[in-house]
């Protein structure tokens, strides 16, 4: 059941979106992307179409606008004056598709390097055509206007420009921030990403739906299964199929477990960055226990690829319950011990409280989602706003911060882990017996015995491998509450087994876009902790 997009003229784009924001209450700009119609089987009026995905302030309703772009070199009006999140979203569309945005403050590449020629997501760009990059850009084109706005002069006073990253222990190897310092205080900052851009979206266009699952593992690799689930669920929703109860419960259990793992890694690394190394051991070790469970279940520690369209590879193993309960106890222990060390620790509190405060209004403008948005006091969680998989039947709370500072972002994660553990414990009790996969041989691989034992099973297997799962023609945006926030997939299907286009709506991309703004006026050491508390995962940020 594809959702319907409202088609508007490019001339009325700015006006329509202003109206949607100010009068209709669609205050969250989730994503902007484009479609290249070059290879499309049905005729379309223009080669490029833009897609704007907005969410209502009640967090329930999604609105999609489509705009035909008559001439990509002329482009359409930028909406970055309406939403801060549009700034980088438009830059990405420009980078990947080469569509211009009129009046954009700084339209330049964001994922690909500066020496790159062409626009890789265009259908006529060959997927394997790599381009060597010899130099990094100096980013002064972004820094200079910032300094000018603040009446600062690089040649006068104590101003110093320092490069943090991308090869910096606290920048996760992939984030580069150029900061202008006055003493230790950051007076201006510009962030560059794209160092881990690995062509997820282009790769999707030449793999069938089940082959994409391993790629989704590597979006947010700290909670790989969750990405599997989000993608599989989106495709299942497009096909209008639902998993049997047991399958859903398994997804809830492993999904929530990976949310916990994600938060554990974020907090362990964040506290390590501030010198609290003991916390690292307490929080990181139970994560290894959780990996033992996952590797016993799925065969892999980190990149599990456990899900398939219409279900999962296999059922839980005998004795899973005892193993899982043991893991939960160990996680509980790690959280408790870690909190004992920090909850009333003056250094921890002083270093985190009132640092990089993001107000609720700003957070919405930047299109924060997930724990980072909730830390700012906005009660938005898809498991509550638009419950799927029966989340409404579980007893758990939404964790919300009040200030939106680094402290809140970390503490929200601590508490969310407890909530997820609650969900898992309830699910263990309630999980029913029965099938785990949908019963449809156009979707699920036949049993090996029938593949080897009969021609029908073999043909069935063959077709599924060669052609893949066929998804009905249409366009669909599916959203999922992942560990870092709203993980969305915008999929365009032409009816075949390979998607025509897949766009990920990655939470981290929008969080990092705000980063240079929220670290201003704080010290370098604070910025490091802010980055840790935002939990930027390069795999999903750069894709």
């Amino acid at each position: 059941m594809p959702n319907t997009a409202i088609v508007i003229e490019s001339s009325e784009l700015l006006q329509t979106i202003t109206h949607a924001k100010n009068s209709l209450g669609f205050t969250l700009l989730l994503d902007i992307t484009a479609i290249d119609n070059l290879n499309k089987t049905h005729p379309s009026s223009t080669r490029f179409e833009l897609v704007y995905i907005l969410r209502h302030a009640d967090f329930k309703e999604t609105l999609i606008y489509k705009v035909a772009v008559a001439d990509e070199t002329v482009g359409v009006q930028s909406i970055s004056s309406l939403f801060s999140s549009a700034d980088w979203a438009e830059r990405e569309v420009y980078d990947q598709y080469g569509i211009n945005f009129i009046n954009h403050p700084m339209l330049k590449r964001v994922l690909n390097h500066m020496q790159f020629e062409g626009h890789p997501l265009r259908k006529d760009y060959e997927i394997t055509k790599g381009q060597y990059c010899t130099n990094a850009q100096d980013l002064m084109d972004e820094m200079k206007p910032l300094l000018k706005k603040r009446n600062l002069d690089l040649n006068k006073g104590d101003l110093m420009v320092v490069n943090l990253g991308p090869s910096h222990p606290a920048s996760h190897g992939t984030i580069r921030t150029l900061v202008a310092l006055e003493g230790e205080t950051i007076v201006a900052a510009a962030t560059e990403i794209g160092y881990l851009h690995r062509g997820f979206e282009k790769s999707c266009e030449n793999h069938n739906y089940n082959q994409i699952i391993p790629y989704t593992d590597r979006l947010n690799y700290c909670s790989a299964v969750m990405n599997n689930i989000a993608f599989a669920k989106t495709v299942e929703d497009m096909m209008d199929i639902t998993l049997p109860e047991r399958g859903i419960y398994i997804r809830i259990i492993v999904g929530e477990l990976s949310r916990v793992i994600d938060h554990l890694v974020c907090l362990a690394a964040g506290l390590l960055d501030m010198g609290g190394q003991t916390n690292y051991w307490y929080l990181y070790n139970p994560r290894d226990n959780a990996y033992d469970f996952l590797s016993k279940l799925t065969g892999a520690r980190l990149t599990n690829s456990y899900m398939r369209i219409g279900g999962m590879t296999h059922d839980l193993y005998d004795g899973w319950e005892a193993d899982l309960r043991d893991v939960l106890t160990k996680i509980d222990f790690g959280i408790t011990e870690s909190l004992k060390m920090i909850a009333h620790n003056r250094i921890f509190n002083d270093r985190l409280q009132n640092i990089s405060v993001v107000s609720a209004k700003q957070a919405i403008d930047y299109c924060f989602t997930g724990p980072n948005l909730r830390a700012s006091g906005v009660a938005y969680d898809l498991r509550f706003a638009k419950p799927y998989y029966g989340y409404e039947t579980f007893d758990f709370d939404m964790v919300i911060g009040s200030v939106g500072d680094t402290y809140d972002r970390m503490m929200v994660r601590f508490d969310e882990m407890n909530e997820s553990l609650k969900i898992i414990r309830q699910a263990i009790k309630r999980i029913p017996d029965g099938e785990i996969n949908v019963n449809d041989k156009r979707i699920i691989m036949p049993a090996k015995s029938s593949v080897y034992g009969g021609i029908e099973g073999m043909m069935n297997h063959f077709m599924l491998v060669i052609e893949g799962v066929k998804v009905p023609k249409g366009e669909y945006y599916g959203a999922f509450e992942a560990a870092n926030g709203e993980l969305g997939f915008y999929i365009v299907s032409d009816g075949s087994g390979t998607p025509y286009k897949v766009k990920v709506r990655p939470p981290s991309f929008y969080h990092i876009a705000a980063y240079p703004k929220i670290i201003e006026n704080y010290q370098v050491a604070d910025a490091i902790l802010t980055l840790g508390s935002l939990n930027i995962i390069a795999g999903e940020m750069d894709r």
Binding site: I127, Y132, C133, G194, L196, R198, C222, W281, Y284, R301
Partner: protein, 172 residues
Amino acid sequence: MDVSNTHLLDEAVVTTTIDAVINWGREASLWPFVFGTACCAIEFMSTAASRYDISRFGAEVLRFSPRHADLLVVAGTISYKQAPILKQIYDQMPEPKWVIAVGACASTGGFYDNYTTLQGIDEIVPVDVYVAGCPPRPEAIIDAILDIQRQLKREKCFEVRNTEFKGKLDDA
């Protein structure tokens, strides 16, 4: 003193080569620089944490300045955009230095055969040990470190290695 009478010195002296002594020291004091960019870096975190504990092999002094390090551990996908940074880090490391390519991506580009991913870091820097896996388990990363240790024992300690190597970014 008549040193030809070895009995006089008893066990106070052992004879060996400079190479053997220096390499013996180097072997158990590798200082890794972890160039971690992606999923593989998460498994490196596990390798360093208490369960797998690389300090058992003398390689726990992780450095984030290339000037302090002699073992470059490249864990994760390297894009064309990242490549010049990696090369710069490698160039900044003093000799002697060794390189481990952790995982499919660093070794060959992995399953990212596309416009943005470098098809193996050996296009730009020389690699001593490749580790298979996506990601490799921590045991495999430890095994690679042991491999480097075995390898370096056979080397001449004052010789500069890889002088012949010419990478794709070298004349740029």
